[in-house]
């Protein structure tokens, strides 16, 4: 078991190093000069050079990379060109939006999808099954930014229950902040819930077909207690896997929905940083996201290994 963990961690670290090189290399070939961008059309070339010098952009690339990567090792993510503050500070501010948003939408989708999936599985082949899985199909097919627009016009413009977008900050109070996150969380939760409901249902159907469940039924346990006590527990692994993947996705995959609601989240930070050529921010945030994905994958792998010792060897 220890060698397995060790091996996985080692792979994770290798991936991180490779990823840092890939990200750095990619950003070097992005056209556009951050210094010229900051100074605009009326500045002279000499002025641009002065600023480039100040920003450390005139150093050799290898030095720039080692400088940045070395900083990462010391948990120093560098300084944003455009905002001229520490990247860690920026990321901290953005995570205060992205993390709760991810958790809320994950919570919402879990709350709806798992019961729905179980219910559909228990009604397999009946109308209720068809209706709920049909709904899940539609949920998967609807572009979330389109759904977001619909939500805005109904709940913000028409009913005026929540703000149409933006984020007041947690300093404005927990309730106003939560209110600002409800619609984006809903928009993000819809496709996630649809997928989760389908996975839950098929996992349940699979488990319900197993021998030991039939045995339990034969031994006289009620359908309900079989469902909850045996089947659900065993169907949990694939469901948790999907949840882990969705969480990792939600941390940065929300750019489009963040744009619709103009939320100051991590996704939009990267989006803006790319268009403003704030390379340090892009590099560091991408690395953080890569690290998050690797960590989540590691945890999922470990949980597999714990459940099924056969998997410890390979994979």
């Amino acid at each position: 078991m220890m060698t397995f963990v060790f091996k996985r961690v080692l792979f994770g670290l290798t991936t991180l190093v490779l990823a840092s090189a890939v990200v750095f290399a990619m950003l070097q070939v992005v056209p556009g000069d951050p210094a010229r961008l900051m100074l605009g059309m009326n500045a002279t070339e000499d002025q641009v050079q002065v600023l480039r010098e100040q920003m450390g952009l005139n150093q050799p690339l290898v030095l720039q990379y080692l400088d940045w990567a070395g900083g990462l090792l010391r948990l120093d993510f560098g300084r944003s060109y455009t905002y001229s503050v520490e990247v860690s500070e920026l990321v901290g501010e953005r995570l205060a939006v992205s993390l709760p948003l991810a958790l809320i939408s994950l919570g919402l989708s879990t709350l709806v999808a798992i019961p729905l999936g179980i219910y559909a599985a228990s009604r397999r082949g009946k109308t209720a099954d068809a209706v709920s899985m049909g709904a899940a199909q539609i949920g998967m097919a609807m572009p979330n930014f389109w759904f977001a627009l619909l939500l805005i016009y109904v709940f913000a413009v028409w009913l005026r229950l929540v703000p149409a977008g933006g984020f007041p900050g947690w300093s404005a109070g927990v309730w106003p902040a939560l209110k600002a996150l409800i619609l984006p969380a809903l928009a993000l939760a819809l496709p996630q819930a649809a997928i989760l409901a389908r996975v839950t249902r098929s996992a349940m159907v699979e488990v319900l077909g197993q021998d030991y469940i039939r045995t339990a039924r034969a031994k006289g346990m009620t359908a309900r207690s079989v469902l909850w006590r045996h089947a659900l527990r065993n169907a949990l692994i694939p469901v948790l896997t999907i949840l882990g993947m969705q969480f990792a996705f939600l941390l940065a995959g929300t750019i489009i929905v963040e744009n619709v609601f103009y939320l100051p989240g991590l996704g939009r930070l990267v989006f803006q940083a790319i268009s403003q050529r704030d390379l340090v921010v892009v590099q560091s945030v991408v690395m953080l996201l890569v690290a998050a994905v690797i960590l989540v994958n590691l945890l999922v792998d470990l949980s597999y290994a714990l459940v099924d010792p056969r998997l410890r060897g390979n994979r």
Binding site: M38, G40, V50, S84, A156, G166, L269
Partner: protein
């Protein structure tokens, strides 16, 4: 279907109107499309910084008024020597920075020297190029010596890039701006908003608002719901275009269309064939239907221009008829130019609504006369690099928003690559002329030369589209400079 749309809109309005009434409010939430990269107006070209802080938090020796006039700022008066080379400014007394330190003449010297110094990263360094030395006479008097007379000096000192900052806070203004204005900076929630609050003991006339929050909403699609839902009460300068009809009929809001200094042109690479041929440029001019372009790109609100000059300027001449819209004529001229079957070219478009929309329309119009344009959308960094700096482009669309900037056509390395000694002569004369009538005459000549040479496709003056709560007064109608002056803004019942 249209009626259904209308009915829905009316229904939504009815619900919206029943919202709470705002009586004698002293707070305001306004929205802007772009967020400042940092908060120091003396160290960036970003207009967004000035749009938050100009006149509100930072002040200069002089300032620009709503109609573009130069007004006294921190300098209550000034005298100019007879040779036009020495400006002596008398400063207001009792002015304090928001951190409690006193403002005096040494701050003026510090700010001007910093802006024109070797290490300066001021984006408009050219504004200070005429300054020879700055001298502190006494704490309330400062003398500026120029290398040569400069007619626009007082105007230059009114730019947002020329505001006066204190040596104690100059280096930290990017994060925590300290100025002398009636509002002080309170908080910047990055990616979201900037909050300003009333400053205590302001030296000038008192303001009405206690708190102003500027929210950053990237596009009209998000701004309209924010306005309709009441989250935001003013969009002072927002490229709304097509979205305007949604709010125009709504009595809760005031729609105010004003002017800007943004001449929007189909920028043309005058040195690159076939655009080095006057006939080709004339043909393009004949092929452009300004009305359709204005309707499609600005929701019909732009003012057509025939040269590079703002229509509200007294020296403006209407030259839109120089090469009137006439596709048949365009084809004919193109044939004379030696392109009977037209040609292919590229059109590089920066990421702004008027350019992207206008570009599609122009591509369609030029295709009618045989010119096949390939649209290449680019981001600003790429535009600045390839089009503006490297001059690697055929055509582009951009609004030149600097006021009174016809002289850019005389710059040899400018990206239009235009070179006409007759025009240069006019600009040189202008720099030596101070008589207003003569200046007006010269400006008119300059406009005519550009129009006849069809240097660029002259399209329209960018409109300033403002929408705000009908109970708000004091926001600017026009945009003579990049600013949202909140010093006169108040709620009325």
């Amino acid at each position: 279907m249209k009626t259904i749309g209308r009915l829905t809109a009316v229904g939504l309005l009815a619900v919206a109107i029943s919202g709470p009434a705002w009586a004698a409010r002293t707070d305001l939430v306004l929205a802007m499309p772009l967020e400042p990269p940092h908060l120091d107006p003396t160290a960036s070209a970003a207009a967004a910084i000035d749009e938050v802080f100009y006149a509100n938090v930072f002040e200069g020796l002089t300032r620009i008024g709503e109609r573009g006039e130069v007004l006294p700022g921190l300098a209550e008066s000034w005298t100019i020597s007879d040779d036009g080379k020495i400006y002596t400014f008398k400063l207001h007394s009792g002015v304090k920075y928001h951190d409690g330190t006193d403002f005096d003449a040494s701050d003026v010297k510090f700010s001007l020297d910093r802006a024109r110094g070797e290490k300066s990263v001021n984006a408009q360094k050219a504004l200070f190029s005429a300054i020879d030395t700055v001298e502190v006479v006494d704490p309330l008097t400062v003398k500026v010596m120029l290398k040569q007379p400069q007619g626009s000096f007082l105007y230059n000192m009114a730019w947002g890039d020329a505001v006066i900052v204190a040596p104690e806070s100059a280096d930290t203004n990017k994060e925590k701006p300290i100025g002398t204005g009636p509002f002080k900076f309170q908080n910047w929630a990055k990616g979201s908003s900037i909050t300003l609050v009333k400053a205590d003991g302001y030296w000038g006339s008192p303001i009405f608002l206690n708190k102003a929050e500027v929210r950053f909403i990237p596009d009209a699609a998000a701004a309209i719901p924010a306005l309709l839902s009441g989250d935001v009460q003013a969009l002072p300068n927002f490229p709304l275009g097509d979205a305007l009809p949604q709010v125009q009929a709504d009595p809760r809001f005031k729609v105010v269309i004003g002017s800007t200094e943004g001449e929007t042109v189909l920028a043309t690479n005058n040195k690159r064939p076939p655009f080095d041929n006057l006939k080709v440029r004339q043909a393009i001019a004949h092929a452009l239907d300004r009305k359709a372009i204005i309707d499609g790109a600005t929701g019909g609100l732009g003012t057509p221009i025939g040269s590079h000059f703002a229509p509200h300027n007294p020296a403006y001449v209407d030259l839109t008829g120089t090469y009137p819209y006439d596709p048949a004529k365009a084809r004919e001229v193109l044939k004379e130019a030696g392109h009977p079957n037209g040609f292919k070219a590229t059109l590089k478009l920066p990421p702004v609504g008027y350019a992207r929309l206008g570009g599609e329309i122009i591509a369609s119009q030029l295709r009618e006369v045989g010119i096949d344009l390939q649209i290449i959308p680019v981001e600003w960094p790429v535009w600045l690099k390839t089009v503006f700096t490297d001059k690697d482009y055929d055509l582009s669309i951009v609004a030149h928003t600097e006021p009174n900037d016809i002289d850019i056509y005389g710059r040899k390395d400018y990206y239009f690559q235009y070179d006409n000694p007759a025009f240069d002569k006019v600009i040189a004369d202008l720099n030596l002329t101070s008589d207003e009538t003569k200046r007006t005459e010269l400006y008119k000549q300059a406009q005519k030369i550009l129009a006849e040479d069809a240097v660029n496709g002259f399209l329209f003056e960018l409109p300033k589209i403002g929408i705000w709560d009908a109970k708000i007064e004091g926001l600017w109608q026009n945009s003579p400079i990049q600013a949202n002056d909140l010093t006169k803004v108040k709620w009325v019942e």
